[in-house]
């Protein structure tokens, strides 16, 4: 018991070390440690019509991106963005295929990977996202009839893909 207890307690306290990183089951519990004065976050938006603005779109459900865990979906999108155009194209394709596979009930014509750059307190003050805070990074279209998707880098909601 003493050995097991000491090992687990030592492992739990190990993240107190200067260069500790998050892990499992021993974590440095980094929640609430970012200033968040100005944030950049990414999401995916579904559009019902070609060429409409992002404001008229609707957030893609987490289960279509990863699974029912919204945080996993958020991290999945963020990693794809960090991976560049090829990674975003791959994610967009995967998500579109999932939506098509369940019959595209929202009737979306396109998906857009969006970057939001804003100060959280600006949202609180204004009650809405500040103008120009959303920027499309990648767009792919959904072709429900063919049950396949076509990437269209030339035509991006709001002006071109990255």
């Amino acid at each position: 018991m003493l050995v097991v207890g000491a090992l687990l307690l030592g492992g739990t306290l190990l993240p107190l070390a200067p260069k500790a990183r998050d892990g499992f089951p021993f974590s440095n519990y980094p929640m609430f440690t970012s200033p968040r004065e100005f944030v950049r976050m990414t999401s995916m938006v579904g559009l019902k019509e070609e060429g409409i603005s992002l404001d008229q779109g609707k957030a893609v459900a987490p289960r279509d991106v990863a699974n029912d865990e919204v945080m996993l979906a958020a991290v999945t999108i963020a990693r794809a963005v960090a991976g560049g155009p090829a990674a975003m194209a791959r994610l967009c394709q995967e998500v579109a295929e999932r939506i098509v596979a369940r019959g595209n009930p929202e009737g979306w014509k396109a998906l857009v990977v969006v970057e939001h750059a804003f100060a959280p307190m600006d949202y609180i003050d204004q009650g809405k996202m500040p103008e120009g805070s959303a920027r499309p990074l990648h767009r792919c279209s959904i072709d429900s009839e063919l049950s396949t998707t076509k990437k269209n880098p030339e035509h991006s909601a709001g002006g071109g893909s990255k």
Binding site: L13, S34, A66, N67, V75
Partner: protein, 319 residues
């Protein structure tokens, strides 16, 4: 330092008396440990069942997103569906034997290790969650301890040294709990500094978290968004949160400190639910703090009360 196991000895009024399932005497360390095993076991059974859809959904995530952490690092690639299905079923089955105290000496270890692998696997898709760490660790302490001497289907006989081992097990259960909070508090001071106490970081985090959830199409807390408009509450709330986290080790000093800390820590998690919609089931349901509370005494009282009520009822309605 007073060990948590010695807390509330005075409440062990049923000590030595025959109880529903315990042979070791209510109020003893072995008794409390047995009651904790049942609580953690029940939590495990319910949690694993509730998580089944989530586990199954991992099948649908493209395999290239697999980024193993923890025990899942032993895997070079994604588990085949059959193997993962077997892992889920075996872990669930072992959670039931654990709860009942069946074959504790070996099966409890098997449960602890398989559960570690299963939860590590769930965390291996790009996002490490922080809701299950303490539960996973507590299972190893309970596996190493004589937690089947009481509140078990067939309680195993007490062996020499069991009480001492049980005392250490209770200490380590509590120490792990407070250590996780302390590390979380330390991280805030380490990465942000003592200015964290001003509350602006929490205020912005609550605002950001709720806006992010809105953009991602998830549930968010309207209360948190509304409260973020005001500067005033966040300083005191930040102070309270840091007091709970950095002051957690004080809970190991005495029963009174432990109870006070448990209440504050639990309140902290309720606050997180209300302002951010984030639910940490292990602490919110109180299971994380069971080693600091006389759970076996409460159980015995409840059982005695139920029996009395049943006797009264049968007296009222003879025959």
């Amino acid at each position: 330092m007073t060990r948590p196991s010695s807390l509330e000895k005075d409440e062990g009024e049923g000590r030595g008396s025959a109880t529903l399932l315990s042979r070791v005497g209510v109020g003893s360390d072995l008794s409390r440990l047995g009651a904790i095993r049942v609580l953690v076991g029940l939590f495990s059974v319910i949690y694993l069942c509730a998580r089944l859809p989530n586990f199954i959904s991992l099948f649908s995530i493209p395999t290239h997103r697999f980024a193993p952490v923890g025990a899942a690092r032993i895997l070079s690639e994604v588990m085949p569906g059959v193997a993962f299905g077997l892992l889920i079923m075996a872990t669930l089955a072992l959670s039931i034997t654990f709860t009942l105290g069946i074959g504790h000496r070996y099966l409890a270890w098997a449960f602890a290790f398989l559960n570690l692998l299963l939860i590590s696997y769930r965390n291996s898709w790009g996002m490490i969650f922080h809701t299950e760490n303490l539960w996973v660790l507590h299972l190893f302490i309970l596996a190493a301890a004589p937690a089947d001497r009481a509140f078990a289907k067939r309680p195993s006989l007490e062996a020499p040294g069991d009480q001492k081992t049980a005392r250490w097990a209770l200490f380590f259960l509590s120490a792990l709990t407070v250590a996780t909070y302390f590390v979380a508090g330390w991280a805030k001071v380490k990465y942000v500094g003592w200015t964290w106490l001003e509350g602006a970081t929490v205020q912005r985090q609550v605002a950001y978290d709720n806006v992010r959830k809105m953009l991602l199409g998830d549930y968010y807390s309207p209360l948190g968004l509304w409260l973020a408009k005001f500067d005033l509450p966040w300083g005191p709330l930040a102070g309270l949160a840091l007091l709970v986290e950095l002051g957690a080790p004080l809970a190991l000093l005495s029963a009174r400190f432990a109870r006070t800390w448990v209440f504050l820590a639990w309140s902290f998690h309720v606050g997180v639910i209300l302002t951010m919609g984030i639910f940490f089931p292990y602490p919110v349901l109180g299971v994380a703090y069971a080693s600091m509370l006389p759970v076996d005494v409460w159980w015995a009282r409840y059982a005695r009360g139920s029996k009395t009520v049943a006797q009264k009822k049968s007296g009222d309605f003879p025959g």
